[in-house]
């Protein structure tokens, strides 16, 4: 059982297994958890496919399971895990984040208000938005 925290949120996967720096997820759960899917060409997200490095396929795929941590490192994207491997953060790379910002498209987000109701930036398309942060201390 592992909890995986990504750009799209937090998922607890009962069939996820962590082993040292490896995070093995059932192939059928990988796309929902990470946005990447195992295809004959390799690991694919949208238009992008990354072939498994020849001779090192076992690092990434074993039977029906995918080591998403190996994929993340292979892509130069940050991975951190708790000491006992029950929680993993799979984050966006600096390159991807910088490229996204250079497009000047304001990244969408969904956050709760005080009552727990979720709101997204995209709900306010059509208005000028002042997005401003603060802290209570």
């Amino acid at each position: 059982m592992v909890t995986v925290l990504t750009e799209s949120g937090e998922r607890t996967l009962p069939d996820g297994e962590s082993s040292g720096d490896a995070l093995w997820l059932p192939a059928r759960e990988v796309e929902a958890a990470t946005g990447w899917a195992l295809k004959p060409q390799g690991l694919c997200k949208g238009e992008v496919c990354v072939p498994l490095p020849p001779g090192r396929e076992q690092e990434f795929v074993r039977g029906p399971r995918v080591n998403v941590a190996a994929l993340w490192r292979h892509l130069g994207q940050p991975v951190v895990r708790s000491d006992r491997g029950h929680a993993w953060v799979l984050a966006a790379s600096a390159g991807d984040r910088a490229t996204a910002l250079r497009s000047l498209e304001a990244p969408d987000f969904t956050l709760p208000d005080v009552s727990g109701r979720l709101h997204s930036l995209s709900e306010h398309r059509g208005k000028k938005v002042l997005l401003v942060t603060w802290a209570s201390w």
Partner: protein
């Protein structure tokens, strides 16, 4: 601070989304309840926005147009760091400094007014090239730091405070420019008022460097 401005400009197709970068349970509810804002107030315990927009301190603001484009990337939201010139014993603010702070705030609010009324014609709306030139630095270290922060917050939230705090400490080491990360870490230690000496030390260590980065806008200090 934003309620008056919001009421004044709401009719011009303007919205304020104020996000509290708080992570301790209970923060920031009392403040929100007292202020009773009619604009959108959200809570970002994991600092997702810090990662998405390259935020390092509060308050910072991003201007986003009707097409969802960044018109002004993350910048200090109209505050001047007058508190550094404050007398720490008497808490008195020198008159000149108080004036600078008031002027900074009014300059920034006036700029927002101008933008809301004039849109892309406003001198305060950056062209795409200028906006790009003002994007915050995003590095491997800052991205790793935000990932560590998120992990730390998760662990603290799920009862593993000690390990969580360790991740927050490491996150702060990786991204020393982030006061957002540092501030939450000081919060985890639950030192309350005792956090202030640590805060002053860290501020003093800046030397000539700004605590709040200067805003690239005519009339801002």
């Amino acid at each position: 601070m934003w309620q008056e401005l919001y009421e004044e400009l709401a009719g011009f197709g303007f919205m304020v989304i104020a996000v509290a970068m708080d992570s301790r349970e209970g923060d920031p509810l009392p403040w929100i309840e007292a202020a009773r804002p009619t604009y959108v107030t959200l809570i970002d315990r994991e600092h997702r926005l810090a990662e998405l927009y390259g935020l390092v301190n509060v308050p910072q603001a991003i201007w986003i147009d009707e097409q969802g484009r960044i018109v002004r990337p993350a910048e200090t939201a109209g505050v001047y760091e007058g508190f550094r010139k404050m007398n720490r014993t008497t808490r008195e603010m020198p008159e000149q400094v108080a004036q600078t702070m008031a002027a900074a705030r009014s300059t920034y609010l006036d700029a927002i007014r101008d933008w809301v009324r004039r849109g892309a014609q406003s001198q305060y709306a950056f062209s795409p090239d200028r906006a790009r030139a003002h994007l915050p630095a995003v590095t491997e270290d800052t991205q790793m730091a935000q990932a560590m922060f998120r992990l730390g917050q998760f662990l603290i939230r799920t009862g593993e405070r000690e390990e969580g705090d360790r991740w927050l400490a490491e996150a702060s080491r990786r991204h020393p420019d982030s006061w957002c990360i540092w501030r939450q870490r000081a919060g985890v230690n639950d030192q309350g008022l005792a956090a202030l000496p640590e805060f002053w030390q860290r501020v003093d260590a800046l030397g000539e460097k700004r605590y709040y980065a200067r805003v690239d806008m005519n009339g801002m200090p």
